[in-house]
């Protein structure tokens, strides 16, 4: 089950490319390498702690009363307060741009709604954070290249969307191909 979850959320259904979680943040992300590493560690801790808190609340108080639908509310509260705690602590150590907590919140919601157990939700959360930060260098490289491109100004905004579409097609082209095996065999 653990290996299945890792393979599924890393290769088959990336949370950024298929679910669209953090796709917006990914396109506007412009931290340097050092800040990206700190950001990654911070998001990872925020997501894991939030999943633990929300899962415990859900397991003890919500699920027994058939109120599991309310879990995003508690996911938001835990993610928000942990993010603020990290912002305050990190700002004392280094000058750090405030992090947008939306991606972390959405990852917590995805991992809790898709999992069937505590361990699986943690695994999905960790892999989702990793898949977001794995894509960063690729998009950064593409954005750097696009700065030198001569193109009509109307298409400049659209180019990043097309690039992201091409990355997804490169990885999951077979899923949207007209020559699908389940149809033609």
């Amino acid at each position: 089950m653990i290996i299945q979850s890792i393979l599924f959320y890393t290769f088959i259904s990336s949370v950024v490319l298929i679910y669209g979680v953090g796709a917006c943040s990914l396109m506007t992300y412009n931290h340097n390498f050092f800040h990206s590493v700190i950001d990654f560690c911070k998001t990872l801790i925020v997501v894991i702690v939030s999943i633990i808190i929300t899962w415990t609340i859900n397991f003890l108080f919500l699920a027994p009363y058939h109120a599991a639908i309310l879990f995003p509310f508690f996911a938001f509260l835990s993610t928000f307060f942990i993010t603020i705690f990290f912002d305050i602590t990190l700002n004392k150590l280094i000058t750090f741009q405030k992090y947008n907590f939306q991606t972390a919140f959405l990852i917590v919601v995805v991992s809790l709604s898709e999992s069937s157990g505590f361990l699986q939700s943690i695994i999905i959360g960790v892999i989702s954070v990793a898949s977001f930060y794995i894509l960063l260098p690729f998009l950064f490289g593409i954005r750097k290249r696009m700065q030198n491109i001569q193109i009509a100004s109307d298409f400049k905004n659209s180019l990043e969307f097309i690039t992201l579409a091409l990355i997804i097609l490169g990885l999951y082209g077979i899923c949207t191909s007209w020559l699908r095996m389940d149809i033609f065999l």
Partner: protein, 191 residues
């Protein structure tokens, strides 16, 4: 400058709607929730303009409203709500972006008329986006009914999956934005 900010808002809004299934029926529901959240934002924006924790309160209100909307709509159509599932929680993020645009303006001189125009324009653009996706993928349009999605015209038996997928949606979005940017530029030239 203000129009440019609304244009960026439109881009980010449409980008957030990309993971929603490629049916107009789902688009209508998502848009309905989005409009409710935007209408909730405007009365409270004045009270929160000087508040340090405005973002927290807004998230709290929007996520609570989204859960309430989910529960109420589950009574109307459980199938549609089950299909939408997690994607509904992408919606509360976009009104926060609107808040960040509005808070930088003079909130005392709040122009409701221009905001209503913005919401109307945004809704039309989103409906066109969802219609284009569904027409290209299924050759039909759909409406949300209690039993699920109802096709207004006979749909393809084998849909063109590319347009229903995320890369297809991103390509439509890219074309749509290029078109909007072109119209915007022409309008600025004429002014």
């Amino acid at each position: 400058m203000q129009e440019k900010k609304y244009f960026i808002y439109l881009i980010s809004c449409l980008a957030l709607f990309v993971p929603v299934p490629a049916h107009l029926g789902y688009g209508i529901i998502v848009l309905f929730l989005h409009t409710i959240l935007l209408f909730t934002l405007f009365p409270i924006i004045k009270y929160l303009s000087n508040n340090e924790h405005a973002q927290f309160y807004l998230y709290l209100i929007f996520i609570s409203l989204t859960i309430l909307f989910y529960l109420l709509f589950s009574v109307y159509s459980p199938v549609i709500m089950f299909t939408l599932g997690f994607t509904l929680f992408l919606v509360p993020i976009s009104p926060i972006l609107m808040y960040h645009i509005e808070i930088k303006n003079s909130t005392q001189n709040f122009n409701y008329q221009s905001l209503l125009k913005t919401i109307a324009f945004l809704n039309i653009c989103t409906l066109i986006f969802f219609s284009a996706r569904e027409l290209l993928a299924w050759r039909s349009l759909s409406l949300p009914l209690p039993k699920g999605i109802y096709f207004l015209f006979p749909a393809y038996k084998m849909p063109i999956l590319f347009w229903a997928s995320i890369p297809g949606a991103l390509c439509i979005l890219a074309f749509f934005l290029a078109l909007l940017s072109f119209i915007n530029r022409l309008r600025e030239k004429n002014l």
